[in-house]
């Protein structure tokens, strides 16, 4: 029965999407909205299908920037969290600083990164990594702290070395939180990549949107936006798929192997 319910869920999603696109198409045609204001979905689809190579190239570039930025965010995020949890000093300094700077609108730093790193891929990766690292480091830190104190006492009673406590208890314990942070982080990384392309770029879907706007080529801008939402969705589900692989034990993943 589970597959049927899941397929019903999929059918619902498809139905709602089709309904939205249909309403959009109908509205544009009925009210005679001009194309440069709001192109009909059929025109957006044609735009993509007529230039598959162009859109594939631009999409891949944005995916590439997002993926590298996200990977850096995961590596640095987990690394920083381990440092913060291991050291009282870093907890008081670094963690406090991170929490305080979390409220800084980080996209506003994008132009500064261009000054520092030039107009190539580096500033875009940097801005993507910077925004994505925050949810990851904060979630990971919380997850590593949320260990049952009895578990820590158990490890201490066996005189477990600190790295064992970190690698065998705290880190696996934090994995659900790490993935929660990563799911937010992957969306943030995509935003970062696009902002980076807005600020200075000659490639990527963000760049496509910006240049289309200059020439009032709305179908092209909408084509890029549609592709971005598809990319964002796929990336999110890719992280969720990894979560399923990594966390077979977690409550949210437990299958029908019934407890006795």
């Amino acid at each position: 029965m589970a597959w049927w319910r899941r397929s019903e869920y999929a059918r619902t999603v498809v139905f709602v999407l089709l309904l939205t696109v249909g309403a959009w198409e109908l509205a544009v045609r009925m009210f005679g909205i001009r194309t440069f204001l709001l192109p009909p979905p059929s025109l957006v689809a044609m735009e993509i299908l007529n230039n598959p190579g162009f859109y594939a190239f631009q999409s891949l570039y944005t995916i590439y920037i997002t993926a590298i930025g996200f990977a850096l965010a995961v590596i640095f995020g987990i690394g920083l969290a381990i440092a913060i949890v291991s050291s009282k000093f870093l907890d008081r300094t670094l963690y406090t600083l991170l929490i305080a700077s979390n409220s800084v609108p980080k996209v506003a730093l994008a132009p500064i990164f261009v000054i520092w790193l030039g107009t190539g891929g580096e500033p875009k990766v940097a801005i993507a990594a910077l925004i994505a690292v925050f949810p990851i480091v904060i979630n990971t830190t919380l997850g590593m702290r949320a260990v049952d104190p009895d578990m820590i006492d158990l490890a201490r009673s066996a005189r477990a070395p600190n790295h064992d406590v970190m690698l065998k208890i705290r880190l696996p314990n934090a994995l659900p939180s790490i993935f929660a942070g990563a799911k937010v982080g992957i969306s943030f990384a995509l935003i970062g990549a696009i902002v980076g392309e807005f600020v200075a770029g000659e490639r990527g879907l963000g760049y496509v949107i910006l240049t289309s706007q200059a020439t009032f080529n709305s179908p092209r801008a909408f084509a890029a936006i549609v592709l971005l939402s598809v990319i964002g969705t796929i990336m999110f589900f890719a992280v969720e798929l990894c979560e399923r692989w990594f966390l077979p034990w977690h409550v949210s993943q437990r299958n029908a192997r019934a407890a006795l």
Partner: protein, 273 residues
């Protein structure tokens, strides 16, 4: 149910060197101006191979005392010796079982048991056979490669006991290990623990708030009172071993539990009948 052909008369004579020696220990938590006294002048010796149960109401500091003996918390005054060594850190040859099993969800039952081996920097492969044998003894032979969440509460606690026993500790500290289990499972585990202790003669300190459980299991029952946490009385339990659950119906068992209940009533812990 088991009854040995000739119940062994256990020795009561206190050996010259206790395995655990708690002398004049006090413990207070400093919380600003008002320091709370949790343990007040506790003195208690546990002989090698002795089974001591501490029974007391919640808040009497019995768990704190266990953690101090385990070297997990410092004492404020007095001193604790384990095997003639001052306890400043968790002593060697000691294992703990908590009320909650704290099994790691991402490890199989076998890997959870072997965790203690890894923590102690010993070689896993030297202990795999022993771990499987232990788990089999505790009725978990078919669950070696299962995950904790596939087990019932009683099975999980059995796995936690196996985890404590894997390195064959001389001193076993148990902090209300069966407190979260249903009455029938608790009876089973009481019988198993009594058998385990009888067979291995580990030095065992067992914390509980169950009077029946304490009398059934222990050689000596330490009755604690609260505010501040202190020892009210120590009662020798002279019931021959091995014990079966049916000893709980004997008059002598009833006398012990009545005595302890009366003691708690006089301490104001429970309302007098």
């Amino acid at each position: 149910m088991q009854t040995g052909p000739e119940p062994m008369q256990h020795e009561r004579s206190a050996p010259p060197t206790p395995y655990v020696s708690v002398s004049a220990v006090s413990k207070s938590y400093d919380s600003g101006k008002n320091a709370a006294l949790v343990l007040d002048d506790i003195t208690l010796d546990i002989a090698p191979g002795e089974f001591v149960a501490i029974v007391g109401p919640s808040g009497c500091g019995k768990s704190t005392l266990l953690k101090c003996i385990a070297g997990l918390q410092p004492v404020s005054a007095g001193r604790i010796m384990v095997k003639d060594e001052l306890v400043l850190a968790p002593p060697d040859n000691m294992a703990i079982v908590f009320q909650r099993d704290v099994l790691l969800d991402w490890r199989t039952v076998l890997d959870n048991v072997l965790l203690m081996v890894e923590f102690r920097g010993l070689k896993r492969k030297d202990f795999v056979a022993r771990a499987i044998q232990l788990l089999t003894t505790y009725g978990l032979g078919d669950y070696v490669n299962r995950y904790p969440w596939e087990l019932s509460g009683g099975m999980r606690q059995r796995a936690a006991i196996c985890r404590a026993l894997i390195v064959d500790p001389e001193l076993l500290l148990m902090d209300e290990p069966f407190g979260a289990l249903d009455a029938m499972t608790r009876d089973d585990l009481n019988v198993e623990l009594e058998r385990l202790w009888f067979a291995t003669r580990k030095t065992l300190l067992f914390i509980t708030h169950g009077i029946d459980e304490a009398v059934y299991l222990a050689d000596r029952v330490v009755v604690m009172a609260r505010n501040p946490g202190r020892i009210a009385e120590i009662i020798d339990i002279d019931i021959p071993r091995p014990r079966s659950l049916s000893v709980r119906q004997t008059p002598e068992f009833g006398e012990y539990t009545t005595e302890i209940r009366r003691l708690f009533a006089s301490l104001g812990v429970v309302k007098a009948e």
